[in-house]
Structures are given as C-alpha cells and as structure tokens.
Assembly symmetry: C2
Homo-oligomer: 463 residues x 2
C-alpha cells in the first residue's frame, strides 16, 4: 500500500518518503530530496527517537573538554528548521516495525506510547550505530557511560558538578583519546585502559603508536595497555572502580569508547539483507535488497575501494555523503557512492594522527603481498622556525608498487597530508609516480621535497 502513485491520466500524485532516523544520513537524504522535489511531488516524514536532529556527535569529546562552549552549537539543524524546510520531522517517535510487503512502518510515540502505521512509497533506513557495551558486571552503574549523544555529554557535566575527580576511559581508539584529552583539560586524573598493546591499536600498526603512547603519558595520563576490563566495582549503585585482569582502577566517572555496531535489528526483522560485516547490504546507489527501501550511514556496509570487500565504517563523512546520494536517487536523480578508503584523522594535544587505506596488518589480512616503509620528515624547511617532525608509514604492493595505505603521526600540518594519499589511493596510484608529483612548496609549509613525496620516493626505492 503505497501512499500514492502516478494515475493513468498522467497526473502525478504526491509520493511519500519515510525516513527512519533523524541524524546525518537521514536528514541529508531528506534535505537533498526536498531540494530536488516539491512538496506536491514528495512528502517527507522523518521519525527520530530522540528530541534532536542532525547533531555533530564527533564534536562531543570537544564539548566535554570545554573546547566547545554551547551544546546547541553542535546541532547543525533543529527539528524546527527541518520543518520550516518542508520536512515533517517527528521526534520522540521510534519506528518499531517495517512491513516491506505492505510498504508501511509502525511508529511509537515515546511520550504517549501510542502507535501508528504509515505507508511509504520510498523508505530510507538511517538507524545509525550504537556504542559497543560488553555485558560486564556493573556496566549499568551510575557513572559508567558512553559518549554518543548530547544527553551523555550532559550526564558527564552532572558527574563533574557532583565532584567526580578520577576518570577511567575504556578503549584507546579515536573516541578514547579525544575524551581522555577532554577530561584532562577539565582537571581530572585520567586512566586509559586498553586491551591491545598500543593506543589506536585497531587502526594503526603498532610501530606507529609508540609516539602516541608517549604523548599520552607525557600529558599525565595513566595509560594501561594490554589490560582487559572484567567489570566494575560499585557502591550504592555508583561506580567506584574499573575491575581489570591486573587489579581495580579507582574511578568515579567511566567512559566506554569501544567503537560502535550498526543498528540493524529493525531491518533484519523486516527481512532486509544484513551482510557479513554486520551492516545492511546496499548497492552503490544505496538501495537495499528490498524494493523501494534505501539505507545510508552508520547502519550500512560500504565497499572498501582497496580490498573490494564490504566494511562498516561509522563516520559522519560517509553518512552525509550517502544520505545525499540516497536523497538524489529517491528524488529521481542518479548518484553513486564511490566506496570508502578507511580515511580517518584525530589529534591528541599537538600530535596529529591520520590514516587511509590499509595498514600493514590489514594488507596481510586481505591477502595482499605488501611491504611497508616508514619515513621521518619535517613539516617545514629545516631552517624555518617551528619545524616539527612527522612519521609517515606507507604500505605498498610488491611488484606493482601500488599504494595500499598510509599512516601519519606528527606535528602541525602532518595529519591533513593524509588527504593527498587518500586521493592517490582513490586513483590507484603507484608510489613511484606519487613521488614525482607537483606538490606545493614554500619554507613555511614543507621542505623542498614534501614529506608526502619523500615517503613515496622511499617506498619506490624499495621496489
């Protein structure tokens, strides 16, 4: 039962797009479809569980750290603004079922508990991802939380106001590092507990992580590597320590930063294909396996351009791009998602950390015959004041010299150089050609051989 269809007289009836999830993917799709279709052509209804839309979750660690003053500044567009743009946003509504045969969704109003059924002509699933929270004893205690929403950030503020002094961060990945720095900024004693033997261990090769561990310790963080969490000690329902295989770590505020998992249960229950990587399967136009059902953002699998394999990468960049592409296609356009390279960047204090493509470990796991070369270089001419070192590790294919991946750790200007490698990877470049490119040079910006060229040249010399 669609909401509308073209009549035999050729008079176009209004079609209805229903969107599940009012964050980056869903609302990008809504905005793009709205841009391309009038309300007479396309009605757009977006259901969102929370009371907010389109906020920058990536900004939450900086909010906690006090770098960002106002929570509202993280909201790119409010429900009211979306409504003024002709999008019927229904906040505090959770979609609890999709019927792909009847082309309907069932939504529950979280304030009244009332349920309603709404038909769709096109459906976009943008249900996002949830933080991984292992079933550790005590994980539901007061003071143990994740940092996924503005409400989580408000909860951190309440705990700080109530006198929290000792923080433990579980996980030393992107969010773990960013949150740890934020809590340090707020004057807390911070312990970071990581099961792997290196910070950023899931995203960088271990040899690139030594400098990060050092920077964390230099900043005053008690970094516990190779340490498995087993649960939490609580008192009166409040956390007092993180229990680990090597003893308890006292803490009155615990932030779990173990990555995320796509929210696919709703789609799975509706019979929509879920892939081996755990996300909703979509083609490059963001179509699922069910007719007129689209999906985008953290809940889908994307094609990795280097391995060709499906991967789940939960990043706002992809969610925004995919949402826009889905919106274009839903509105009758033709756009395709080009896949992902696994590009990412963060910083810990002054240290910039970035990666793209495959690490040496990932290349081996993908069955590629790869080699790696690490280069030390400066971000400015050696004689220019403030020159700072960076390390660049390149992974390339033996024989062909095809670039497979890059990792960068270093001072100012180091991190964003990853985009040059990402562009090279996107174009399937060989390291020898990369080393000869015409990149920019002036003493305040790089040595005469930019670190990118030096690294590529060194890799080419090993072929």
């Amino acid at each position: 039962m669609g909401a509308g269809s073209a009549t035999s007289e050729g008079v176009e009836m209004t079609r209805r797009l229903v969107i599940i999830g009012g964050d980056a993917a869903g609302m990008s799709a809504a905005a793009q479809a709205r841009r391309m279709s009038s309300p007479d052509q396309l009605e757009i209804v977006a259901f969102e569980r929370s009371s907010r839309t389109s906020y920058a979750a990536c900004g939450l660690p900086y909010l906690v750290g006090g770098f960002v003053a106002a929570p509202d500044s993280l909201v790119a567009r409010t429900p009211e603004e979306h409504r003024a743009n002709g999008i019927d946003v229904r906040t505090r509504h959770e979609v609890i079922a999709i019927d792909t045969l009847a082309s309907t969704v069932t939504a529950r109003n979280l304030d009244t508990a009332g349920e309603s059924v709404l038909g769709y002509d096109e459906l976009l699933i943008g249900t996002g991802a949830s933080g991984i929270a292992p079933p550790w004893p005590g994980i539901d205690a007061q003071g143990v939380l994740q940092l996924r929403t503005l409400d989580d950030a408000a909860q951190v503020e309440r705990l700080l106001a109530a006198g929290a002094r000792r923080a433990a961060v579980v996980g030393a990945g992107y969010i773990g590092l960013e949150v740890a720095e934020g809590l340090l900024e707020r004057g807390l004693a911070v312990t970071v507990i990581e099961q792997l033997d290196a910070p950023m261990g899931a995203v960088l090769d271990a040899d690139m992580a030594a400098g990060i561990a050092q920077a964390m310790r230099d900043a005053g963080i008690d970094l516990r590597l190779g340490t498995a969490v087993t649960g939490f000690t609580t008192s009166d329902g409040r956390v007092t320590a993180v229990d680990t295989a090597s003893g308890p770590v006292p803490a009155d505020l615990v932030l779990i930063g173990l990555g995320v998992r796509p929210n696919v249960e709703l789609a799975r229950a509706a019979g929509i294909d879920i892939g081996a990587a755990g996300g909703i399967v979509v083609d490059d136009h963001l179509r699922t396996g069910s007719p007129h059902v689209w999906a985008a953002g953290d809940c889908v699998e994307s094609r990795h351009r280097i391995t060709g394999r499906p991967v789940v990468v939960a990043l706002g960049t992809h969610a925004n791009k995919q949402g826009r592409i889905a919106g274009t296609n839903i509105a009758g356009g033709d756009a395709a998602f080009g896949g992902v390279l696994g590009t990412a960047i963060t910083r810990f204090k002054a240290l910039e950390i970035a990666r793209t493509g495959l690490t040496e470990r990932e290349a081996a796991a993908a069955g590629l015959d790869a080699f790696a070369v690490t280069t030390e270089a400066l971000n400015r001419a050696h004689y220019y004041p403030g020159a700072q070192p960076m390390q660049i590790k390149l992974v390339a294919e033996r024989g062909t010299g095809r670039l497979l991946g890059a990792q960068i750790v270093g001072g100012e200007g180091a991190g964003k150089r990853i985009d040059v490698f990402a562009t090279a990877l996107w174009n399937d470049m060989r390291v020898a050609e990369l080393g000869g490119m015409d990149l920019s040079y002036a003493p305040p910006f790089s040595p005469v051989w930019d670190p990118v060229l030096l690294a590529a040249g060194k890799a080419a010399s090993k072929l």
Copy 2:
C-alpha cells in the same frame, strides 16, 4: 673528445660528467649520479660561479625578515661536503663556452682569470635563472637590488645597518609579498609597487586577490596597484626614490621582485635548442637536442600537464626532481619527469595563498572551454574554536567536468589543501568524482564536508 670510453676488451674506463651550475638541479644530479656510480665508473666535476653550492634561495625572504637566524642554515650542502661525497666541485669557476662537437667546456677561474678546457662524456647544464631587471634609469644605483643570493641578503643587512628606513618593493608576486612582510618585520615602512591591478596578479585570478590586497594594507603596507615604475631617483649614486607614472615613491632600499628568466645564453651559443617559452628544450628524460648534453632546473622548459605546452617554471621543487632524474639517467638508470602543474604556495602573515593547474584566465588563453566556481568554507568545524574561512576557486572544463585548476586563499591549513587538487589534476579527475572522495574529517581539521569536497561538489553542480 670524450674523457673516456669503453675499450674493445670490455674494460670500462672512467667516464666524466661535467655539471655547469652548483645549485639545486646540478648538485641533485651530481649526488644521484654519485649514489648510482662509483668514482671508478664516473668522475663528476661541477663548476659553480659563486663560492657556494646547494643553498635554499626560497629561504632568503625569511632570512631578511629575521625568521631565519643564520645564513648558513640555508646551505643544504657546502662545497666541502660535496667534495667529501666524491664530487669535484670547483667554485668561483664560470663556464664560458660549450663545444658540443669536441665535447668540451671552457671554464674561467674568477679569481685568477685563468681559463681551462675540460672534456666530458656527459654534460649537465644547470645554469638556473636570473632576476628580471628592466633597463630602468638608475637600476644600478646603490640600494636597488634583487634577492637572489646570500650575498644579496647580506647587502640588505648592510643597508639596514646603515639606517635604511623606507623600503620599496617592485612587484607583488611571491617574492614581492614575502620580502615585503620580511621588511615590515624589521620595522621598515614598506611600499609595494605593482603594475597589475592586483597582488599576485600573474598567478591568481583577480577575484582571488582582493583579500590579499586587504591583508597587505591591514599589515601597514602602502600598496600601489596599477602603478608602472619608470626608473629611480638617485643622489650620489644611491637610490632616494622609485619613479612611477604617478609620481616618486621615496625609498632608501629597493627590492626588485619581477620574476626570473632562464639563463640560456651559454647553451644557445653552443647551438643547443632553446624553446618558444625561453628555456632549454629537453625531453622527459632531461636530454637536450645535443647528444650527451642534459639540462635541468630553472633553465629548462617543462611540459605543462594540463595544456601539454612547454613552460618555464623556476621552482626548487622541479630543480631538485629534475636534477635527480637527470642524474639517474646519466648513471645508466631510467627515470622520467612527469611534467608540471604550476603548483605553488606562499603566505602573507596568517593568510595562506596557493594555486595549481590553470587559472580561469590561463584556461581561456589555452583555448579551453572552462568555467569557474568559488566556494567559501571553514578550516575547522564551525563550532570548533579558531575556525577560519578560506576561499577556493575551481576551474573546470565544461561538458566533461574535468578539473583544470584550483586557487586557495585563507587561514591556517588552507594552503596545503592545494596538494589534494594537484593530486586530482595529476590523475585527470572530474570534479564530480573529486567531490565524493573519502577525505579525512575531525572537528579540529575540517567541517564534515572538507572544503575540498565542498568546492568540487559545487563545481559539479554547475555542470
């Protein structure tokens, strides 16, 4: 008459490589050839007019400005270091003739005026370029100089020590801007005189230059645009004013920054081909039209990758690359120069300025059917402290959407984004695909749509 050749018995005799010019191109070639051949295989003799080798001319404005403390820090490698590396560097020697039939050069010892003839098996011409100095009356006066060598920088220091207070810079290109900032830093009153109607008028489109003119004036520079220099007023042989079509500009220190012209007279006199762009003609292996004669650096023409036409681009990056490539080939290897894109970067105070490929004006001059789109974006997430704006102008081909060029003017981190566009140009990318790439994102480094993606997406939307 070669210095050596393989005998019929197969015993290899030592060959001799003679290099004319001991700066970036010549000494890069020497070092690379030395790396690949033993002294028994290849003798390397390098003639250099001055008493120095391998210094970073691009650092001179920062030396004048006091950003760089020691002149010696600009010297990448001294004659002694080259000699210790097995390269026979003969400073204060000027090559005055090449005989390609006899395979000899004639060199003059500038201290003794003695001349000598030396045979070569391979000859590399790395004679560089000279600053353009129009035949204006008074241009030889004391106080009027260019900034091409460490001696020039020392001369500026002497004039400052002697009480120079009012500086005039002729030309508002790269060197003009950098020198003007340096002299401001030293406390001088600075006037910049430019014949065109915009600073950087030869390298950026005029619409991108407005912010630069404003930044120069905000910094206290008296910027005279559209003003033609006619000569210099002097007193007792010392400059007192720059004469212009609109009146005199008092000055006791004048720096000419009008760009450079390749030094090709020696090659021309030897019958070596000079091209329409004014440089020595070389193929992608850096061979000239004369057997066993190679040329590299500021004195040669390079192929522009977008237009396919020969251009002269005097930049240390190309000189270093070409020198290394020539050295590889001379030593029996096989390397090719991939051409130039016209990538360049500089800064004026906090304002970063960069370009690559063709400007809108250059694209029109090349007969391309181009359009241009300018985008304003931030260098960080809008809510992240210190976010600064940048302008990106993209030039693309109508119909195909092929990227033709990019110009960037903006705050911290703006300039080096040009390398992403350079990499895209190198790979002949279309703006639509460029706008969908997987570039890095985190709030301290960019908005969720990096300015590069925003600019490309905007250009694609105009197709």
